[in-house]
Amino acid sequence: MVLLQIDFGIIIEKLVLIAAIITGSLVIAMYATYGERKVAAVLQDRRGPNRAGPMGILQPLADGLKLFMKEEIIPNTSNKFLFIMGPSLAMLTAMMTSAVIPWGNEIHINMLGIDRHVSLQIADINIGVLFIFGVVSMGVYGIMIGGWASNNKFSLMAAMRGASQVISYELAMGISLIALLMLTGTLSMKTIVEQQMAGNWNIFYQPLGFLIFLICAFAECNRAPFDLPEAENELNFGYHQEYSSMKLGFYLFAEYINMFISSVIMATLFFGGYDVPFIDESTLSVNVAALIGIISLLIKTVIFIFIFMWVRWTLPRFRYDQLMNLGWKNLIPLALFNMFVTGAVILWRQG
């Protein structure tokens, strides 16, 4: 009698997918550091890294090696458990978000006697957007715990800044997404993408919502102009002041993974995810459609990452009161207004 039948195929398939996505996002984050320096250089009429390999393409490897070779210092007044947990948590939450993102529709494997349709999404849970919000708001614990455990005034100050900033901007971000969710009527990322493939991209219905989401995403990632938790000239280095070696590397890396993931989320929610404009994917074979879908998602993501960097190297940092004014007095009313207008239009169209 079989009580519980386990489909080993699905376990293997998910494990492979998880490995591929984690490797992919790590590599992309790695090259985002290179891209960041190159974009900064180009915008400032400089050359950027060009010594390691052709065009400096091996620079991230050299940087990583350097970080690994550094001495690992744990200050003796710090809380050791929390000190190690901080960067681990930052990295973990950064990676976890990628679980619910649909990277493509599905691929069809038909070889070696296996005939499977593999969905290119680790978990298609019906509360995908909510899951992302939950995990992203956990990300601030990495900053907070790191800053707290360092037992250092500047780090603690930076941690408090980071925490209050993320909480303030999460509100506006959530409200701006509610308008989008009222439109789509679902929280599942995959369904949102499928709706956009059938109709228009959500950016045409929610331009204001997208703008608010974009600004909040900058703040959530602690990127300039909202990089107050690591404001160099005010707080030395912010929450990762006491960190060295790969623990520092984890913090820096988590920032780039966050940037990558939020670019993917923006592409998925507002720019059709793996949808290619002007092409009807259903006429193509499944695997070809999946391939161009992934490529199109990555292109959209790279464009967003470029915008992240472009903004960073253009705008100066906000003052703290300006940051709070923008968040609470401008973005939240604007997001509420957007939500009401969207609701009114939906009700009016229903008659």
Partner: protein, 182 residues
């Protein structure tokens, strides 16, 4: 008050308009400016591969010159050492032996000729003092060194290659500042 230049602008402290308070137009303007810098030419000179050309009058390392027959011009008169404000030049004179006429132009020559490149201020007074056109400053500069001793350049470092036996190296070392007067 009359302004000194035409470029000065008076500062107005009127409150910002609604559009200015939105900041977005300003942000887009700034971003357009940075984006336009993607298409401007990078003024960087990639140093080890590329070098900046020196001006014609650049005074660099000293060269001890030879005449057309490959003989050393220097007679160790010591005028350069006297003229040198930094006292960077030391020399020892020696008498030309019979049979050395192909090596030294006159009866007296510099057996030792040292310039301390750490003391030298590259003023070019030695070049002006020299009655025999034997020393002049070239268009290269002293490379970095780990020891002070390495900056004391002797005759083997300063002397130009023989134009008769090693024409190519001679042309390369000659530079454009060789003195041809007198």
């Amino acid at each position: 008050m009359q302004s000194l230049t035409k470029r000065s602008e008076s500062v107005e402290r009127k409150p910002m308009t609604w559009l200015e308070r939105m900041y977005l137009p300003g942000i887009f303007k700034g971003m357009a400016i940075t984006f336009s810098h993607m298409f401007t030419k990078t003024p960087t000179i990639n140093y080890p591969e590329q070098t900046r050309p020196f001006s014609k009058v650049f005074r660099g390392l000293h060269v001890l010159n030879r005449d057309e027959e490959g003989r050393e011009r220097c007679t160790a008169c010591g005028l350069c050492a006297v003229a040198c404000p930094a006292e960077a030049i030391t020399m020892e004179a020696a008498e030309r032996e019979p049979g050395e006429e192909k090596l030294y132009r006159e009866e007296k020559y510099a057996a030792k000729y040292e310039v301390n490149m750490l003391r030298c201020i590259f003023c070019g007074l030695c070049e002006e003092a020299c009655p025999k056109d034997a020393v002049y400053l070239s268009e290269t500069f002293a490379p970095a060194n780990y020891k002070r001793q390495g900056f004391i350049y002797g005759k083997e470092d300063l002397l130009i290659p023989n134009p008769l036996t090693d024409k190519e190296a001679y042309e390369k070392a000659k530079g454009e500042r060789e003195k041809t007067t007198s």
